[in-house]
Symmetry: D2
Subunit: 220 residues, 4 copies
C-alpha cells in the first residue's frame, strides 16, 4: 500500500489536489497497486466523488456528534466519502486518551485507522488501541531528502517486532523521506507492508513519474 | 445578519446539513434577510454549491500552505466555497498570537472573519486585529435556554461600547441561548448588528419555523 | 504505598501543605507505612526539607535544560528534593510522545515515575515506556464519593493483567474516590500495590484520622 | 527596571540559580537599580528567602485553588515569595481568555503581572486586561545575538504608542537579544521603561560583569 498524504501543500489544495488524485487513480489502475489518498477535509467529498481509489481524512477529532465547533467529526468525513483516516500524525499529535477515543469512534463509523508513531516504543503503545495500520515516521526525517529505509533501517525492523508482540496482525507502514523506488523496496524487504509519503509526490514537478518510480519499488 | 452555526450536531452533518441549508436559503430569499451558514469543513463544498446564501467555515488554522497534516487551511476552505469563517469560537479557543495570524491569513484569501469573544474585554482586545465582525457569546449560556439578551443585556451594550473605542466600524453579533424573536429584537435594540445561533435551530423539530420566528425579531 | 496528591487544594498550598505533610510523616513513621506526597512545585523544597518521607512533583515537562519559560524541569525539581513525579495525571494529560520523553528525562535524573492512566488499555500502552509505577484512575470517579474499588473492581484486575502482559514488574496503584479503609483493602485484594488519593485527605476536617483509617485498609 | 528571566537554563536551576540571584542582588544594591528575577517555580522560595530584590514566577496558570494537578497556582507561588509573574511568554503562550483570567487571579493575590507580546498589536490587545507591565519581545530575536533595539526599533516606539492608546499608564519593557549597554540605552531612549533579558546574563561566563554592563545602559 502507498499512502499519499496531501497535507496542506499548495499542490494538495482544491483543484490541484484533484489533479494529483486523478493521476494517482490512473497509476493505481494501470499498475494494479493499492494507493490511498489522505486529503484536506474540505476536499474529501470532491475527490472521493471523482476517483475510485480510497480517500482518507488526515485527522479526526475524538468527538461524538454534538456541540463542537470547527472540529472534525468521523461521521461527517465518513459521509463525505472518507474510508479511513490518519491519527496522531507527527504534525498533529494527540493526547494518549484522545488517540484511544478517536480510534474507537472512527472504527464505529466503519472507517480504517492509520495511527502514526515517531518510534518503535510509541508504535507498540498505540497498537494496544488496535488501529488498522501503524505508520512509523521519525519526525526528524519528515519532508527531508534521506529516507527512513536508508537512515534508520533498524527502526523498521524494531517497530515490526514490537508491533508483533502486541498484535501480530497489524501491518506496519513506514514514512519520512521516501522518494525513490529503492526506499520503497528496502522498506518492504525489512518487513513493512507499505509506505507513507508526502513531499516526494506533492512537491514533485512530475507527480505521475514520481508515483510510477515508487511503484517500481513495490514490485521488487 | 443571522449566523447559524451548524457545529457538529447530527442535524448539521452531511445530507441533514444540506437540508437545513436549503431551508435557510429559502427563508433568506422569501424574507430578504441575510442568513449565513457556518458548516463543517467536509460539507463546505457541497453546501456552497447547493445554496446561494453565504457559507462560512467554523474555524481556520493560522497556517500557510505547506507541511501541515489535518489542519484547516484558509486557501482550501476558500476554494471549497467558504466566504468567511468563525475564529476563536468558545468551543475552539486560540492563543492570542494565533488569532492575529489567522485573521491576517483569512483576510488575504478575501474571506470575512467573525471573531468570537466570551466577554466585552476580550471583544475589545480582539478588535485590535480588525476582524470583520465580533461575536460575543458568554460560554455559560451557550446551548442553554436563557438568551444573552435576557440574562446579560449589559454584556451587549458594554461590548458595543468597548468595540467602538477601538474601531467604530466593527459590527457586533451576539449569541448564546438565542431562541425567540424577542431574543433577537432585544439584541438589536441594544445595538447588536445580528445574532449567532446554533442549538435553537439545529436541535429544533422544525428548523424552518424556528428561523422564521427569529426573523420576526429582526423586523421589529 | 499510599500516594497523597496535594493538587492545588487550598489545604495543599504553602504552610497548610506543610502541616499535612508533617501529619503524613508522623503517621508513616508510627505505622511503618510507605506514604508519598505529591506537592506543588513551589512547595517541594520546603516540604522535602521538613519531612523524611518521599516528596514527589505532580508533573514534569518533557524538556531538557535550556530556553523554556515557566515549564517544569526534572533537574530542578530533583534538586529541590523531589524523589519522583506523577506523569500524565488526568488533570494534566500529555501527548503520547511527550509521555515517553518525560519518563526518559525523569529517570535520567534518578527520579521515580508514577504514570497515570484512565483505563486498562492506556495503562498497558504507557507500560511500554517503563514507568516505575502505573496509577489507574477513572476520571469520572476522581474527587467523587464512590471509590474505584467499589464502582469498577474489574478495572483493577484488568489493568493488572494487561500491565503484566507488557512488563511483569510494574506495580499498579489505583485511585479515584478512595476514602475508606475498605476501599484500600479491596484494592489490595484485587492485586493493587497501593493507592493514590487526594480529596479524601486534602478536603478532610481531620486529615490525620483519615490517613490512619486508610492505613487500616493496608493492614488487612 | 531590568527583569532577568532565568528560564530553565542549567545556570538558572537550583544552587546555580541562587548564585546568580545573589550576584544580581549585590549589583542592584550597589548601583541602586531595580532588578527583578523570574525563576523556576521550585526555586522561588529558596531565592526569595535569600535575596532582598523582587522574585517573580515565570508563569501562573489561570486556576483557582481546587482539583488541579501539576499546574501553577498564584496563591502558592505568592506564598512562596513571588511578588509577580510573567504571563504569556513567547515560550508559554496562552489562550486569550486564559490571559484575562490569569491576570485577574494574579492581581487578586497582590502580585504584579508582566504580560508578554510578540508585536505591537498583541501588546495593545493585552493592555485591555490591564497588566502592570507589557513586555514586547519578537520571538525571532529571542536567544539571539541581535537586540530588538537595533533590529526593530520601530517595534518599541509603535508598541508604546499603541499601549498609550489603550491605557496611558502601563510601562513597556522590551526584550529579545538584549546584551549590551547600548541595547539598553537605545531601548530607553525609544521610550521603554526597562528591559527583559535571559541568555545575555544566564549564558554569560561572567554574569556580574554582564549585569554591570547592562546597567550602564540604564544610566545614560
Amino acid at each position: 500500500m502507498i499512502l499519499i498524504n496531501f497535507k496542506t501543500y499548495e499542490s494538495g489544495t482544491g483543484r490541484k489536489a484533484l489533479e494529483i488524485a486523478k493521476i494517482a487513480e490512473k497509476v493505481s489502475k494501470e499498475k494494479d497497486v493499492n494507493i490511498v489518498l489522505a486529503v484536506q477535509a474540505a476536499d474529501i467529498r470532491m475527490i472521493a466523488d471523482a476517483v475510485s481509489i480510497p480517500v482518507y481524512a488526515q485527522h479526526v477529532d475524538p468527538i461524538e456528534p454534538g456541540s463542537h465547533t470547527g472540529w472534525s467529526l468521523a461521521k461527517d468525513v465518513r459521509e463525505a466519502g472518507a474510508e479511513g483516516t490518519l491519527i496522531n500524525h507527527s504534525e498533529h499529535r494527540m493526547e494518549i486518551s484522545q488517540i484511544e477515543k478517536a480510534i474507537d469512534i472512527v472504527k464505529e463509523e466503519g472507517m480504517k485507522t492509520v495511527a502514526c508513531a515517531p518510534d518503535a516504543e510509541i508504535a507498540e503503545a498505540i497498537c494496544v488501541f488496535e488501529p488498522d495500520f501503524i505508520a512509523v515516521e521519525p519526525p526528524e526525517l519528515i519532508a527531508g531528502n534521506v529516507s527512513v529505509s536508508k537512515a534508520k533501517p533498524e527502526l523498521i525492523t524494531e517497530t515490526i517486532e514490537m508491533v508483533r508482540k502486541v498484535d501480530g496482525d497489524i501491518p506496519v507502514l513506514v514514512g519520512a523521506g521516501v522518494k525513490s523506488k529503492k526506499d520503497v523496496s528496502r522498506a518492504l524487504e525489512l518487513g513493512a507492508s507499505g509506505v507513507l509519503l508526502a513531499s516526494g509526490v506533492m512537491k514533485s514537478e512530475n507527480p505521475e513519474k514520481e508515483i510510477l518510480e515508487l511503484i517500481e519499488g513495490l514490485k521488487v
